[in-house]
Symmetry: C2
Subunit: 481 residues, 2 copies
């Protein structure tokens, strides 16, 4: 473990988080709603803390080890959430520290679960920061999943160094910067396009920016209590569906596409699976809504398309109160919370890649019993998936379900009914945001008991950092020499 | 595929099922409640069908192949359920064919889910047959899991040919008979002991026999609507807890124990895990019931001990309406439905052995990320578990969860609320019996829509026959030459 190096990286990160508060500061100065002071104090504390930590830990450059990587990633996110909660805390707009940390973690982990009861009453500067944390978190995740996790070998992520020959480089430390630069450009470019399209539809620049942040990070914070449903605009819904789906796609594919390989998307087995799941979900829920006489056919299709895209990509925007939909639709949405976006996207949850490989193994085992002597490797896009990678994926899936179960138990101990307990955890660990029952789209997380908020915050972090990165730090073995 | 041989085995099985109807026939003659005629007709049809099939398919003895094994097991259970439903059908006591087949399948798969509203009103002969199907099914399962499945390599079951050097022989066909004989003795012996102990406590011989059948098979059919709760007797509860736990234990361990290896139980890693899960469950639920002011401490402990033992062993007897317990207790019971008994017991569900190995792999993957270059095999009782076996277990677990999810969706399409839909499937595929919500202990499966009853019947069979045995027959690949 190289503590100086870890401190140095964290210092730089915290400094950068502090700098990014300049943007909400600008917004708050424009709107002049009295939140500028709180943001300025937060900005000062954060940049200074970052600088001090950076300065104190400067030293000779060393090779980053695996263990350092885990610590940097986990502590990086935890401290981003901590400093990110300062503007909420100093402005007094969200209540105590638990609420502020919950909202900040929900932002940086791109979850989008909120404890805010009256969103429209918050000052614009605070709202802007809230959405910006999504966007920063989303960029962090792309970098993490495409540049760092493959080297740490998390839950099969090493796999698609082979699967997608994108802008991923061969060595961790020296190339992270270059990978980051390329991916920033793609991320910023697509974001800019969404802003422009939302502006063209007549959305104000403030809301266009905030909703773009929420879309591209598959976050889900809105500037409206009724989320995207507020606008009652098919145009906005179509635009946001398109960009949610883009954000849930592996960014290496966008990179390849922009480089002129137009077949990149369709050649990816994971992308085909992702689209197939979404289309199936939309079809089933549309039918269920229509046959259950909930809406007419076009409205059924419209609401189902938006909600399925929002849940599968783990965004969490809503256009309807799906908590009042028929039992089947709710059940399907709950299950879709476990699908998630593609690996290498800003989407969370288990991820399509892993689900696809797990299903392939399920079929392989059936096949094996029919032909006991046959050797049947699991393939993805024509390539054989090594068995260590499969074991990593199984281990990930198991831990994910194990934590989901344990956390659901804790939430039900705290007094939530069974569906709310299950859905709150599924929506947190999957970085979705809204759940079902008492944490459904017509409600929020404000009334969850204090301990429950911390449990869910922990789940958001676990889910966002692919479980291992956090869990591993809790194992005594990790800290042994 | 050797169709003659398959037909021959099925013919013998059906004949035997028919013969076993002599027992309820005797009971119905004693009680003279008008059901003797229905049972006699059923007996005649069943034995005759068996004889005809057996006679038609006699031929040269051939080696049984793997595929034959799968077909015999699956069709064996399906036809046992079919002929077993005749006494219900002819006596007219359960309504139409769907109800009769559901109840018969629930019996032979040792599930114990019932569609009977007024159990006390059924004639004694029918009640006796209902409980006897449990006991026959339980014996079938021990034979299947200890003698047949290891050779078919189902979901890791090949493992414990090595793990438990019990009375299991090395070749399938010739030794099945010997294994069967030994296990019969153990099964009959333990059953006889339970009957005697229940009689000593003052239970009538009819109810003592029926409840023993339900216990030893981890079935759960009772002769009382209020199940074991009817007796309000700590003595009966303790006896039944003890025998449920025995029935949920690998019968090879009983065999070893009876041969004088008194440490056999404690040396088994699976048995230790099984006991640990049960003790943890009892502790948590006792605390929850006490702290939730549901009962006083001794009653909390009493009800929790019975219910946890009943659910983990997948028996399904009840002494209290756990559907009215606090959310946490219900949540825990639902999760315990996925644990199940030991492999090689009459208990159903995922089984302790698999759960234990899955957890070991989960920890192994964490360890691997800390020591990326370490080779860490998964061990059970000091022996390394081969990776094909682990893959088989993963495949099993995945299919189990996949079927659970799909069936839950179907049940919610049919109009069940989310909890009832989930619990009805968990209780059916896990061969538990009572679920939560509208299929909780204070209710039954009578009001489930027709299609739903067939879906649950299918789940019972799938769960009981370790998924693969049934699923494999539905894959076109299986039927190709």
């Amino acid at each position: 473990m190289h503590f100086r190096l870890i401190g140095n990286a964290l210092g730089a990160l915290i400094f950068f988080i502090g700098l990014s508060m300049l943007l909400p500061l600008g917004v708050s100065l424009i709107y002049a709603e009295g939140d500028a002071k709180a943001i300025l104090i937060s900005l000062s504390i954060t940049t200074l803390s970052g600088l001090v930590l950076y300065g104190l830990t400067r030293g000779t450059v060393k090779e980053i080890g695996n263990k350092d990587g885990f610590v940097i990633v986990a502590l990086g996110w935890i401290s981003a959430c901590l400093f990110g909660s300062l503007p909420y805390l100093f402005s007094g707009s969200l209540g105590g520290f638990t609420n502020c940390y919950f909202e900040s973690a929900s932002g940086f982990t791109t979850t989008g679960a909120t404890i805010v009861n009256y969103i429209e009453e918050l000052p614009h500067g605070i709202l802007f920061w809230r959405s910006l944390t999504h966007w920063l978190g989303g960029m962090g995740i792309i970098l993490l999943s495409l540049a760092i996790l493959p080297f740490l070998g998390i839950g099969g992520m090493q796999l698609y160094r082979a699967e997608v020959p994108g802008p991923v480089m061969d060595k961790l430390a020296p190339r992270v910067r270059e990978t980051a630069k390329t991916l920033w450009k793609v991320y910023v470019g697509i974001s800019a396009l969404e802003v422009v399209l939302l502006l063209l539809g007549g959305m104000g620049w403030f809301e266009a920016l905030c909703h773009t942040f929420g879309t591209m990070a598959t976050g889900g914070f809105s500037t409206r209590s009724a989320s995207i449903g507020f606008y009652r605009s098919t145009y906005f819904e179509i635009i946001i569906i398109f960009f949610m789906l883009a954000a849930g796609t592996n960014f290496s594919l966008h990179y390849q596409f922009l480089k002129g390989e137009f077949s990149a998307f369709w050649r990816s087995a994971e992308f085909r699976f992702y689209i197939a799941v979404i289309l199936t979900g939309i079809t089933l829920i549309t039918l269920n809504l229509r046959l259950g006489s909930h809406y007419d056919l076009s409205d059924s299709l419209r609401y189902a398309s938006f909600q399925v895209s929002s849940i599968v990509t783990t965004t969490g925007y809503t256009t309807a109160d799906f908590g009042s939909w028929p039992s089947l639709s709710q059940c399907l949405l709950l299950i879709l919370m476990f699908v998630g976006g593609c690996a290498g996207s800003t989407g969370g949850s288990v991820k399509c890649l892993r689900n696809l490989l797990l299903l392939k193994q399920g079929y392989r085992e059936i096949y094996r019993h029919i032909h006991p002597r046959a050797v049947v490797p699991i393939k993805l896009g024509g390539r054989v998936v090594p068995s260590e990678v499969m074991e990593g994926i199984w281990g990930f899936f198991l831990l994910y379900m194990f934590i989901f179960i344990v956390a659901s138990i804790i939430m039900s101990v705290l007094g939530l009914d069974l569906i709310s307990a299950i859905a709150s955890v599924a929506a947190s660990i999957g970085n979705v945001g809204p759940g079902l029952g008492s944490v459904g789209p017509s409600s929020n997380y404000a009334d969850i008991p204090l301990i429950g908020k911390w449990v869910l915050t922990f789940c958001m972090l676990l889910g966002r950092l692919e479980i291992y990165t956090v869990i591993i730090l809790l194992v005594p073995e990790f800290w042994r020499k």
